[in-house]
Assembly symmetry: C2
Homo-oligomer: 235 residues x 2
DNA sequence: TACGTCCGACGTACGTTGTACGTACCGTGT
DNA sequence: ACACGGTACGTACAACGTACGTCGGACGTA
């Protein structure tokens, strides 16, 4: 054909790779939304034939999983072991929120798809480490991790999928107030201004504070020195 | 044609309706999974031509929204105003969890799609009512509602989308332990048994307790008598 | 009874999607 | 020089969402 490139030559084209495919998909999603993602579009993005993708990705679901994996792998899990459990936990959960801001339109995919790679376990490992270091037993550490994860996921999900009807309330109060039965929704109507106000950051921190203060108040053994074997903590 | 039925006669066929379409979709999803839902399948389910659906539902997205709406509308929001704020809040959040058990395979849809109908606001109204009755100001009530919602959504999302890798850890420990770098994931490996153990109920209640106890400890005005106008609480 | 109007069920058809399959080519080991 | 494994590619197909036109029964009015 007219190709001046031989297939495998990186000199003219950067070599097709699972990583490049995933990044292209992410770029596409961020620019045009998750609905715009198709194998054909990704291929076009990379200047490649559609079926070439399948040499590196078994199917579209796997590509989506790759997207999710790449995003959570982008979490910056810095940690300062000298700080308190509460502070460290806060930093950890906020890290998730930070990537959520970095890849806003990928978040539905991240939240929806399960991640089957070590990258997905890094935040879990970190959470368990914090809890363990704080003196919680294994069982409790796992539950703490799950509670933190649930809140991180849920807060993000709620924010992106914010019920539109509340926006209607704000946008056209006259119309929407009328559509809402005042007998059934007195509080929603009365609190419409607060409901319409978007301050995701404060909302997020409010719930996070609640959860972490409650965790901090949980009964536990004294926090142990850092050099002790963490694995022996669970009974 | 061979129709012994006249189109609009309910005597032979129960009359095509948005409600029947939505219920058929839900049935399909619960039986075969969300991936199996297509307009054609739904039509077949109802013994109806595909395009007939579009007389009652503008498009597939609207159908999905209908599914989500129907599910949350199925929440049984019983309430006992004589009980404490904490108890009432617990009951409310558990109600969401109950429908999640009733329509497990619809949950991804419910979580993903925003609900643009009064039905979606009923739980919100309830949460605001509880918080208001407990003496929280409007701003705080809204934040409390959001925190509860975030946890409810997140806990459910986490449970359904439970990271499969943890299952691998349980299923084939030998293999998976080997695949996991012990230096990077010491706690995950050490706590593998606890991580693999599925006790969603206890996990859910653990986090819910944390959150609600923290809410209960929040500073607030004394709870007001029930006959007072709730709408005046917010500044 | 006859007729005009409207609505809902339906068939056809188009563009887009994911991907199974076969082919052609490259670089590499022998 | 030659066979081989991997990768890029084109073709092809089934299934999808849905725009559009048609058609026949229900119903108000005469």
């Amino acid at each position: 054909m007219e190709h001046d490139v031989t297939s495998g030559t990186p000199a003219t084209r950067p070599a097709l790779t699972r990583g490049r495919i995933v990044r292209a998909a992410i770029g596409l999603i961020e620019r045009e939304g998750a609905g715009a993602l198709s194998m054909r579009r990704v291929a076009a993005e990379l200047g490649v034939a559609v079926m070439s993708l399948y040499n590196h990705v078994p199917n579209k679901a796997a590509l989506l999983e790759g997207v999710a994996e790449h995003v959570v792998a982008g979490m910056e899990l810095e940690d300062d072991p000298s700080r308190s459990f509460a502070d460290r936990a806060r930093v950890l959960v906020r890290a998730f929120r930070t990537v959520a801001h970095e890849y806003p339109r990928c978040m539905t995919i991240v939240l929806t798809h399960e991640i089957d790679s070590p990258a997905g376990l890094r935040p879990a490992e970190r959470a368990l480490a914090l809890a363990d270091a704080a003196g919680f037993d294994g069982e409790t550490s796992v539950r703490i991790m799950r509670a933190l994860l649930a809140y991180a996921l849920g807060a993000q999900l709620r924010e992106t999928g914010a019920v539109r009807m509340l926006d209607h309330l704000a946008a056209a109060p006259a119309d929407s107030y009328g559509r809402l039965d005042p007998d059934e929704f007195p509080h929603v109507i009365a609190l419409a201004p607060q409901l319409a106000r978007h301050d995701p950051e404060t909302d997020f921190e409010f719930g996070l504070d609640l959860l972490i203060r409650a965790l901090d108040a949980l009964p536990r053994a004294a926090s142990r020195p850092l050099d002790e074997d963490p694995g022996t903590a669970q009974g």
